[in-house]
Every structure is written in structure tokens, then in C-alpha cells.
Subunit: 387 residues, 4 copies
């Protein structure tokens, strides 16, 4: 819990500003498009994170609050069914208006109103909601950056986002197996710090002894899988994974371009030769699983990961686990619309642990649970083996 | 045929400029989106009409011509299969790059190159191709304007394109039936003026005597059809028209908004009360047909229309005819890629005659044949009865 | 018009019996399946032609008529929207009940009731409706046979329908061009004989002089088109035809099986080597058109065909024409539900002329207009050239 | 493990016969259809269970084995990608051949060959494979019965399968909460008896204390959920569950027919008034979850269920659990094609525990793990609450 409203205000302002910093390299046109359903236009992220503050906080805490524009709730609501009608997700890229300038003006208006509100109200209730709003915006910062990558990286001109952006740092240490003994372990968030409801419900799990790799699988290792015919070996794949690679003609991770003798890779710093020692990324759960099958190994569960994580470096790639994204024992969702935040997605998705080069600071932690459908690849996903 | 290359150059420059004038009221964001497959982003029209000149003329007539950007052929080719790979139609709205500024620079570069070319080459062959390019661009000017209307008119903010734009002028004359006697008539384009290949092949048709209305059907008349239950009366509709209105929950023309007691209409000059005396527009062929059935009348054929057209005013609405879009006797398509212009669409579409408030000057004529699939409504279509 | 009710009864009974004769070679299982939407289960044809008599005639003319089973109207109505709810077309193959035995019992019950009715009522009104019912059933006889061919010919076991069935007879005469002079011709049905509403409205058309082939295109000729790369030459195809062959990986007519050195063909008499001199069949309009383009020729219009037909043999293959299926001048559809018979399909389809080896006797004539969507191939379609 | 080959032969023959007994009430037509992708034609189950014995056993153990029909592997292979090409799942209902008689002859041929084989070979290896084949067939017996229910229960004639079939027995005891203390429990199959690979890997889990209901939720209780607006309350549903009920207009369990004042229910014994005290069935996981949410309770995990199951009656309804269907620790799949049996489905599905009135004898046990996608309802699913 943030202890003072001044610190909270700083945290808020810094977060609001960082969102806009991420967009600095963009052209106006880049803010508008939605090449696939999972990717939202940058403009939409800018507006949606703002609407969240307006709708859940300003309308509630300021009696005389003047909504910036009545249409914006319709345009920028994402999925809060209980908050009224909204633009269907697949239509986000069809909206040229409001313009980017209008959205920035909307951001400024709401940030100013939040600042004024925080100066006159220092209740815990407000502080808690502001904190949720900040973390909500940080979560969208990661999506914003990965959505920008998708928009630019699927454009035939392959424009560079920023030549300074580093998607990985090379790890000089060799991979080793870390051993964790059998036993009862505690899982879940504890302490005062911020967490989402899906991390709460501290509880015990029983783990068999296992070993987990100290390093992520690298591009070089993944190429061996490709060259050994991994994408053509049906027995390595889940039934729906096999259908997915065949229906979509998948032969390599996303953003890989095969040339005669080598692979190129589109990174936020542009198209370049694939770095063989970098951790493989932009793979689906199906691919992570098939790779592990091919090695005769497996993915860790999210509990194994949480128990072992202090013994290895993490944070460059979101790591697919074998666990399904399910409620912890005694999970209870928040009352009202905020209760839609996490619980409604707890079916048919896999849990990922860790964080990525696109994750904002203060946004991940050892108990953080990310989740995606098993075929999705546009995040900086990765793969760590266990046995 | 344009008789001098100076006149041709003027015609070219005026046409190139007019395209840009149409875009003047747009925000950059408006240039980018593609809300439905049939609508292209304005940016794409600007680039495609330019690519057409570059690919069919500059590359052919200027030996040392330097292509502006190698990627643009891929981005701006529309459907000329024989001219190589291209962005699939449904992906046009996913492209944020090239930017609008880059597209305008591309236009300038190509217009300048065409100007220089025309100053040094006055062959008939070049003049003919330039003329095709001009008419191609004029054709896209109409699509550009109707696509802009779709983009703005389907945005929840309903922005106005231009408060001065008039979509109709009121016709003070009452409707009358014009009688045309039975006999043999000549159909098709004659003379030196420009026409497309699909108008050529002057030929005779035999027409029974018929009557055709001097006026288009009005909004007021169309409301009677709606209120009489036209959209719920299966026997008025083609089988596939009935499926279409039901699958899409169609209850009125496009851009109509039903309020408690009246209809509002989104026009290029903004949302306003529907003018009852204006000609009905934005209807599909299915709706035009069902209306005629309900009146116990019919649509004219395109031949009847061509024979009768000198006796009535036309040009505000493209008029659906009962005719399918088919080749005239002795139709021959142009050799090479230009042969893809018209002939390849001569199946499953209906012919429309006339022109519309969005049609550029010098672009329509009594023999002009427009064509669309029967369900399309985003053009300024209309309806004239015959019997 | 049939002149006596005895002759009419004979015609009816013979027709009813012939439908069942067509089904003689079937196993019960063959009656049930619907491999594609366009193909109906044989059981459905047996029931639907019976329901037509029950619903349009028996219920109208017999006051005390006892409907055989109340559910059958729901099961066997095809598309008469005005006659109430019905099983959607794509679900016909999901119905195991009523059983084949029940459907035959239903047929017998209705045929007996019709016999009794004809013995007590000799009005013209009844006779006309019976005649429509007979021709409706004959029309379904052709579909029944071609649907059976599809069901058996797409089964991996490729069972033979009847080893005696001859799909063609060899024509010993060489192809010649028949010349028809320019002029005004009369089109449409005349005289007392039966015709559908879509053939009526005798009217004049003006034809340019043209030539038409005395023979259908043969398999041997069509193979030349394939071997010359016809299916890979985009400029020969309509835009939607090109999409269709590519989306469906079409490389040859339906029922052709390519072996190393030759084609096999599945006919109603089983799988065998393709007869090179037989007329090509089971081609779409798109393929017919592309073949003609490749030859530098064209398809005749339906008017040209009708005017020339007395000078050549026809009746083995339905012949694609260049004409769209549209109403003749002064076309009026029958009142009430029978009006749904033809008119509602007069959009987006092509006209075929002639008849086929699957056409029942007395069912085609020089003015008969068949119609299908341009991609359909499961009928015995064919191709005659004009120029 | 079955201890003698005579006992094994008896078990085999009894199983083979029971499959055919299930089909006794069918008409031939009922064997053929596939109304939805998840439902296979009864004929296909008869053939597929036979092909399994032929392909995995007879071809392997009998050198001179004569395959019954070479086409049948293509027709009756289900999903064993490693065993070669096969009819795609959605096409199973398009196959009228082989006929039902041929399939029964095939069954007899293979059963006889298996009998002869067992008489001459008493190796453990054979016995184990036969046992798998028996359990495979028992698994299909349940699908066969529920597929038959779907085929008949979705036919507009609603034919009865068997008037003697009882889908439930009334439970006279009131519901109570059973308490299980916190602690470490062992999960998984032990002992010599048959089990599938997905039950193996005996392992410990740590459970919090919990309570589980001694009874399944009844129709009467479920009606309260419906009448309280459960299907209209977005906050009770998963995001994809909400989309599913709305896209499919789901308002009640499958096979419920709403009348003016009460519900009717289609059971294998025909359509009748819904028994209010019977356990609710034919619900999706989404509905089970929403019901529990509405009660402020939850579903048990599969581990809780396994630990508590000895304290309550079960076996009438497969019970949805909150658990995802995932591999147990140290899960290893069988080598070769048999390895495709379970593991390839371990993503995106939910685990069900228990058994149902359609489950064959000896086929379920406390450790048995059934699994389906969360929207499926055609099995006899049910719902037990926990807290």
C-alpha cells in the first residue's frame, strides 16, 4: 500500500506520463489500426486507461464531475459488460474519431481532475482505487508496446519502433538444473504490496521433487527443434495445437523471416539477423509444449515456478506454464464491475509467470499471474524447461 | 479523344488536384480505416490511383524512371492479378504505413513525372493511357467520397464531412409516366469521347413499349413501403434478398436512424431530419426490387433506361436496373493487364445507370454502366420505376 | 394441357412410379445423407414431392382430407416461406426419421388420395394444379438422380449406381459452325403445352448474326485446356471464378480422378477410364467461360440458343449460357405460394438451356429455362461454343 | 488385470455384444446421421471400435491376417493422425456406405478373428492390448448411447429410444454438507485393475478443508436459478460462457422444452414432464459454474471430489469439476499410436468425475477422469456443489 497521497500522486503522474512516452515514436496513423482482434489500436489504450479512471473513480468521488465526452464511455469501455454498451472489440480499428489529439486532451483533462481529487481527498478507499487504476494502466502499457510491435512488424514496410530498444540481454551463464525438494509450499501473495485478486488466497500446495532450468530456451536450441522436423511431428503436439499450426501454416515463431541460409527477426529495433543466443520468444503454448515433448521434458507448473523463482533470473519473457488459469482456493472476486477484472477469464487459458522486456516497472512480482489463450504469440512469451 | 497534350495535361492536373480537394476536410486518422471490406481507406485511394499511373505509364514510357518506393506496388495494387502480389483487400485498413504525408509526397512525385513525360511525348498511345488513368482516378473519386461517408457515418461520434455538401436538390415537378414505343433501338457508346470498353459494341435491341417514371422514388414514398410492412412481406423479396435482410436485421435504408416519431439521416453535411421529398438513397437492389414489387411495378432494364434517359433528369442517384452486368455482343476486353478493368466482373452483379452527387464531372454519360453486387448500399443508389 | 382426367391420372401415376424406380438401386442408408447443402437426401425428395401434392392440392380440394402426419409439412417443405416453418436446408441430412418405409407409405397414401380426387373432380383448376405437381416431381427426379450420383460418387467406396446407366451416346458427326442471320426473333413458350411461368411472355429480341457449334465441347478438347494451363491463367477467369478455383483447389471437372497418365471418371455406371469423345460435363459456369475465353470464343446467350436449337442435337447436357436468369418482359408470377416457384430466384444465377441424361421425359423443351449459381457442378452441365 | 484368457475372452465377447444391444431399438436410418460435429453416427461407432481391434491388434499379432476391407481404415479411423489418412470428423454423417449390414459383418469377422487369436496366444502383451480395446469400446458405448439420444431428441418427430430406459432413480435422502479436513491426500489410480494412463502417477496433493454436498443439484433447484434471471445476469458468467449463451440463445439445459406453465424433457424414454426431483443434467460447465456463483458456492476440484467420493453416492451424472484436464505429475504417455489416446487432449478442457446412466459396467471408478470442452452438453453431465 502506498503510504502517502503525495507519493501516490507521483506514482500516478509518472504512470500516466510513461504511457505517452511509449507512444512517442509513433506516427498518427500508427495509433489507429487493429490488424488482428487481439491487438488494440494505441489510441484505444490511451483512451481506455483514461476512461477507467473517469468511470470508476471520478464519477464516483466527484459529485460535480463533468464527463469529458458522453460518447467516450461507449468507445473506450473494453469488456465491462456491467458498465453498459460498448464498441465491439473487433471494431476498434474502424474508428478514426476521436482523433489522437482529442484523446490526448481527454487524458490531460482526466489526469488534472485526478490530481485535484487527490489533493482534496485522502481516504483509503480512493487511494486503493487509484492504485488499481495505476496498475491497470501499467498492464495496458505492456499491451500497448506489444500491440505497437505487431502493427509495425506486420506492415510490409517493417518500420523500426526505436533503434535503441533492447529486447534481451545476453546471459553469460550456462544452463543448469536447479533441484527443489518434495514438500508442502505456500503459494500466493502476502504482505502489504499491491496485488490482483487472482494472486490472493495464500494456500499450501504439495509438490513432488523436481528440477527446473536456470535459463530460458534459446533461439539456437529452438532452431534445432525446427530442423529436427518438430513442426511436422504430430505426436509432439496437442490435437488442437496440431490443427492450429496446420490451419495457419506455422513453421517458426512469430516475427521470424526465413532467408536462404538464416533467419531474420523483426524486433522493436527493426529487422535484423536472429540472435542465436537470445531467449526464444513469440511462441504459443502449443509450441512451448511441443518443444518440451521433443526434448523428453516438460514445462513447469505455475506453483513449481513460484517456488523456484528466487533461484534463477527472470523477467525478459513471460514463461508459459503447464497450469491452467484457475481460481486459487477461497478466491473471491471484487464486488461490482471491478469483479469483472480477472475472474471472468478463468477458463480455457494458460497461466504465464515472470514478466517481459515490455513489462512496466513495479508491475510484476513472483506471484503475478498472467494468462493467455494457448495459441497467442504476440506477447514476449518464452519457455523454461522442467523435469 | 482529347485533342492536345496541353489540354490533356490540364485535365490530368485538375483531376489529380480534385482528389486531394475531396480529402481536405479529413483528419489524418480518417485516411487510415477500413470499416468494411467494400470500403477502402482514403489513403489507399490516393496511393492506388497514383500507382496506376506509375505502373501502367511511367514504367512503360520512361526508360530511366525511378520507382518511388518498391513496396508501394505491393501496398497499392488493387486487383490486377497479372501485375503481381498485393495486400489482400481486407487488410488495407491494417496498414498505418506509408503515412499520409508519404502518400502525398508519392502523388507529387508521380504527377511531376507525368507532367515531364507529357511535355516530351505527344503520342496517341500515351494520350490514350493518360486518359484512362484520369478516368480511373475519377472513378475512385466517387468511391473516395462514399467511403469517407461510410467511415464518418458509422463512427459513433457521427462527425460532419462538410456542412456545405448538398446531397440532393428538390425537384419541383410531379412524377409522370413517360411512354416509349416498341421498336429496335441502338445501344452503346458512339463518337470520339471517352468510354470504357464495357460500353462499346454498339448494337441493336428490341424493346416492347414501356413507360418509365420521370422522377426517382422519394423518401416519403419509401416510408410508405416500410410502414406497410414491406420488410416483413416475404413474397416481395428475392430468396437471397429475404435472407440478407433477416441475417442483417435490415429495416430501412443505410444511414437512417429511427427516432420515436421520425427518421434522422446521416448525410455528408451531418445528421439531420430526413428530408421526405429527397430521392431515397443507400438502398440495395433487393430493396429496390421489393419496393417495385409492392407497387405492382418493376425496375427498368438498362436498355430501357438508356433509350428513355434523354426525357428525364438524372445524375443524383445511381439507379438500379433489372439488368445483370453482362458483356455486350462483340465485347472484347483490352489486351494485357488493362483487360482486367471491367470484363472480369461480368458475373453476379447488377447494372446501375445514371450517376450521383458523388460522381466527378465528365465521368458519367448516357451509356455509362456502373455495377455492384445486389446487396451493396454504400453508394448513392436510387430507384426509378417502370411498367 | 392434358385433355382428359384419365390421361392426367395415367401421367400422374407414371410420374409417381418413376420417382420410385430411380431409387430402386439404393440401400436404405443412401436415402438419408446430405453431403453438401445443394444435395438433398433422396428420402427428402420422395417426401417433398408428396407434400407438394398434399399441401397445394389435397388440403385445398378435399374438405375432409386427413393430413398424413402433421410433422411432415415441417420436414418436407423446401422453401415456401409463405407456407410456414420448415427444417432449414442444411439440416435435411440430420433427420433419420421419418424412416424410408414411412416415406413410401406417405407416398402411397397421397397418391391414392389424388387418384380418388381425380375420379370425383374434373375441373380445369384441379387439372392445372395436378399438372404443376407432376412437373414439379419430374424436376425433382432429375435432382434426385444427380444427388444420388453425388452421394455415391463422393463416398470413398465409390459404389456403382447401375452398371447399365449410359451418361452419353457418341456423336459420329464432326463439329460445324451453324450460322444464324441478324434479325428479330420471337422468344418464349407458345401453344397449349405445359410450361413454367418463367418461359411465358412471348417477346421479340434482336440478334446480331452469330455462329454456334453443332456439337458440345468434348472431354478431349477440355483436356487440352487443362494441359495448356487453363486453370493457372488468371486472365481467362472472372474475378470470383478465380477465387473459387483457388479456394477450392479446382483443377478439373467434378468426378475426374487424375492418375499417372490418364483420367478416371465416376459415372452412374461406376468408376472408369474417362471417355475422351464424350461431352465434357460437371463443370461450373466459370469453367465453361474460361474455356471459351481460352479458345477466343464465347458462350451463346439463351436467346441465341433458343433460336438455333432446332439445327443441332441437344439434351445430354444442360448447357451454360452467357445469360443471367432474369424475368422476361411482362413476366408475372403466379398468385400465392406457387408464385414462389421461380421468380424469387431471378438474381445472381445463370440460365442453362437444353436438358440432360438425367432429365425425365416430357420435362424439357426448347423454351425451358434452367438456372443455377455459377459455381455449381453437380448437374450434368456442358458447354457449347458460339462466336 | 484379467487373470485368464478365458475370462478375457468372455469379457471381450460380452462387450462386443453389448455394443450391438445398445443399437437394437434403432432403425437403419438412425445409424447414419451426424447432426452436430460432436455426435458420430452409430454406424461409425460400430465400425471404429472394430477397426481399433483390427489395426492395433490383429494386424500386429496375426501374420496372415487378411484386412476385411482396405477402405475401412480410412472410414473408421478417428483421430490417430499417426495411423494415416482418415475421413474428416465433420464428414462422418455424409457416408451412406459401408451399409449397416456390412458394418455388422465386419464386426463379426473381427470378433471371430480375435477369438481365434486369443485361443492361440496367451501373452500378457496381447491381453493388455485386448483389455485396452475392450475399455475403448466401453467408452464408445457411452458415446453411442448419448449420440443416439441426440439424434432422436433433435428430430422433429421426437421418437422414443426405449420406454423402459430410466435416466435416474430418486434419492430419498436430503442434501447435507460433508466435511473433509485439511491435509495431504493421495490422488491417482493404484492396484492391478485397469486404468487409463491419465489416472496414473499416484501423487500427493494438499487440500484445504472443504465441504461437499451429498447430493447433486436437482431440476427443481436449477429452475430457481432460471427464474431468478440466472441466464440474464452477466456477472455470474465467464466471459466466454456469456458469449456462448447469447450466441446460441441458451435459456435452459439441453432437451428442455418450455411450455406455458412447465417444462417438458426429452429422455431416452421419450418426451415427458420434467421430473423436478431428478438431478439436473445436460448442462455445460459454464452453466454449472454460473449456478454455483449464483448460490455463492463453487464446484469442487477433481482432487476434492476424489478424496470425498466414498462418502456420497455417484454414478448417474458426470460431474463438472473446477479442474482443467491436465497431466498428473510424472505423466507419461504410451509409446506409438496408443499414446494419442489421452495426452493430446490435455489443453482447454475441463475434468468431469463420476459416471452416468449411460456408462457401461466396469467402466468407471473413483479415479476415472472424463473430459470435455466447457460448452458441451450432450453427455449426462451434472453438478455437485462445494464450499
Amino acid at each position: 500500500m502506498i503510504t502517502s497521497s503525495i507519493a501516490l500522486l507521483d506514482f500516478l503522474l509518472e504512470t500516466r506520463e510513461h504511457t505517452e512516452t511509449i507512444c512517442k515514436p509513433l506516427q498518427i496513423e500508427d495509433y489507429v489500426v487493429q490488424p488482428i482482434e487481439d491487438v488494440s489500436p494505441p489510441k484505444w489504450h490511451l483512451g481506455h486507461t483514461t476512461w477507467f479512471f473517469e468511470d470508476f473513480i471520478l464519477k464516483k468521488f466527484k459529485d460535480d464531475y463533468q464527463v469529458y465526452d458522453d460518447h467516450f464511455a461507449f468507445v473506450f469501455n473494453s469488456y465491462y459488460e456491467s458498465m453498459g454498451a460498448r464498441v465491439v472489440r473487433t471494431d476498434r480499428g474502424n474508428l478514426s474519431r476521436p482523433t489522437v489529439d482529442q484523446v490526448y486532451a481527454y487524458r490531460k483533462y482526466v489526469t488534472n481532475a485526478l490530481t485535484a481529487l487527490l489533493e482534496e481527498n485522502d481516504t483509503d478507499e480512493l487511494a486503493q482505487l487509484i492504485e488499481i487504476g495505476i496498475h491497470h494502466e501499467k498492464q495496458h502499457q505492456e499491451l500497448l508496446l506489444t500491440d505497437i510491435k505487431y502493427i509495425l512488424g506486420n506492415n510490409p514496410l517493417l518500420p523500426t519502433y526505436s533503434s535503441e530498444f533492447q529486447e534481451f540481454k545476453l546471459n553469460p551463464n550456462p544452463a543448469e538444473w536447479l533441484s527443489i525438494p518434495e514438500g508442502i509450499y505456500e503459494i500466493g501473495h502476502k504482505g502489504d504490496g499491491f496485488s490482483y485478486d487472482n494472486e490472493l488466497g495464500l494456500h499450501k500446495v504439495y509438490l513432488n521433487s523436481f528440477e527446473i532450468s536456470s535459463r530460458l530456451v534459446t533461439n539456437s536450441e529452438y532452431i534445432q527443434f525446427i530442423e529436427a522436423g518438430g513442426y511436422e511431428s504430430v505426436l509432439l503436439w496437442h490435437s488442437e495445437g496440431w490443427a492450429w499450426i496446420n490451419d495457419n501454416a506455422i513453421k517458426a515463431p512469430l516475427y521470424w523471416h526465413k532467408n536462404d541460409n538464416y533467419y531474420e527477426y523483426y524486433g522493436l529495433n527493426g529487422l535484423q539477423k536472429l540472435n542465436l543466443e537470445a531467449p526464444v520468444t513469440h511462441i504459443s503454448y502449443y509450441e512451448a509444449f511441443a518443444y518440451a515433448q521433443w526434448k523428453g521434458l516438460r514445462l513447469p507448473t505455475e506453483f513449481e515456478w513460484e517456488v523456484a523463482q528466487s533461484q534463477f533470473d527472470w523477467g525478459e519473457r513471460w514463461e508459459w506454464t503447464e497450469s491452467a488459469y484457475l481460481p486459487y482456493p477461497n478466491y473471491t472476486k471484487a464486488p461490482g464491475a471491478l469483479g469483472e477484472y480477472n475472474g471472468k477469464f478463468m477458463v480455457s487459458q494458460k497461466t504465464l509467470r515472470g514478466g517481459s522486456v515490455a513489462t512496466s516497472n513495479y508491475h510484476t512480482r513472483p506471484t503475478y499471474r498472467n494468462f493467455f489463450h494457448p495459441q497467442l504469440r504476440w506477447q514476449f512469451t518464452g519457455l523454461r524447461l522442467a523435469r
